[in-house]
């Protein structure tokens, strides 16, 4: 038996998708955000030997992580609303931004490794 104050309305999910797609997508972004923080820490350690290239990598990954963090709430709200209305605008900007940042991180690291030869 649950005790609830009669004047408080019950909590309701903002959508009725039994597959919880908005939650799963939001959590997938959250995991990516977490991996980006870990990468920032790895690059921080690499800064000792690589100098400013390492600092550039740290700034890039922290920037990407902050971008995902700032847009998380908006993203969840939008996808929950889309399940409700049946229409969703694909999040082209976030996807392209994340892909390009990770490709840049790899390219700069490659540059740093090859530059040492």
């Amino acid at each position: 038996m649950t005790r609830r104050r009669p004047d408080v309305p019950p909590l309701q999910a903002p959508h009725d998708d039994a597959g919880l797609q908005p939650e799963r997508t939001s959590l997938a972004w959250g995991r990516t955000l977490l991996v980006l923080w870990v990468m920032a820490c790895v690059f921080l350690r690499w800064m000792q030997s690589e100098g400013w290239l390492g600092a550039l990598l740290v700034v890039l990954s922290v920037f990407a992580a902050l971008y995902i963090w700032m847009t998380q709430r908006r993203r969840y709200r939008r996808s929950a609303h889309a399940i409700h209305t049946g229409r969703l605008r694909a999040d082209v900007a976030s996807v392209l931004f994340t892909g390009v940042v990770v490709a840049c991180l790899a390219a700069v690291s490659l540059w740093a490794v090859l530059g040492r030869l």
Binding site: T25, T32, L88, A90, G99, V102, A106
Partner: protein, 148 residues
């Protein structure tokens, strides 16, 4: 007769409502340019496509972390040539996978909009061949060290 036309009218208005709904979807300039044509797919398909893209991105980030770790933290394990080869291979794979994950996301999204069959994943053979090559290099290095 009267009932039939009434029903037809109702179907017509439902279709019109559907059309006006698809027209009113707010789409940004980037989405309009890259994802032109076709009709809006089921939101759940778009979200699933996004999650698949993110899974590939995390794979790329893991390879990136591996490449950095091999280069930075194995100074007394591998010879310089082996170390650089391994780390360059891992970093190249990370770059290729993150680039093609973006392209694949776009292709799948376009296929969903046009209700076309989904494209074959070129990333899978790339990742498995790359992983196999890196592992083979590691095994041969370790075996050679045992022999000497």
């Amino acid at each position: 007769m009267g009932f039939g036309t009434q029903q037809a009218d109702r179907i017509m208005t439902a279709q019109q409502q559907d059309l006006s709904k698809s027209d009113s979807v707010d789409r940004g300039p980037l989405s309009l340019r890259l994802l032109a044509g076709g009709s809006e797919p089921d939101p759940r398909f778009t979200l699933a496509n996004e999650r698949t893209f993110l899974a590939w991105i995390r794979t790329a980030l893991a390879l990136l972390a591996g490449g950095i770790a091999v280069e930075a933290f194995t100074l007394d394990v591998f010879t310089p040539v082996v170390r650089t080869t391994l780390s360059v291979a891992l970093l190249l794979m990370a770059m290729l996978i993150s680039g093609s994950a973006c392209l694949r996301w776009l292709k799948v999204e376009r296929a969903l909009r046009n209700k076309a069959p989904l494209p074959l994943p070129l990333l899978v053979p790339l990742l498995s061949i790359g992983g196999a090559l890196v592992t083979l290099t590691l095994i041969s290095v370790l075996l050679l060290r045992q022999v000497h």
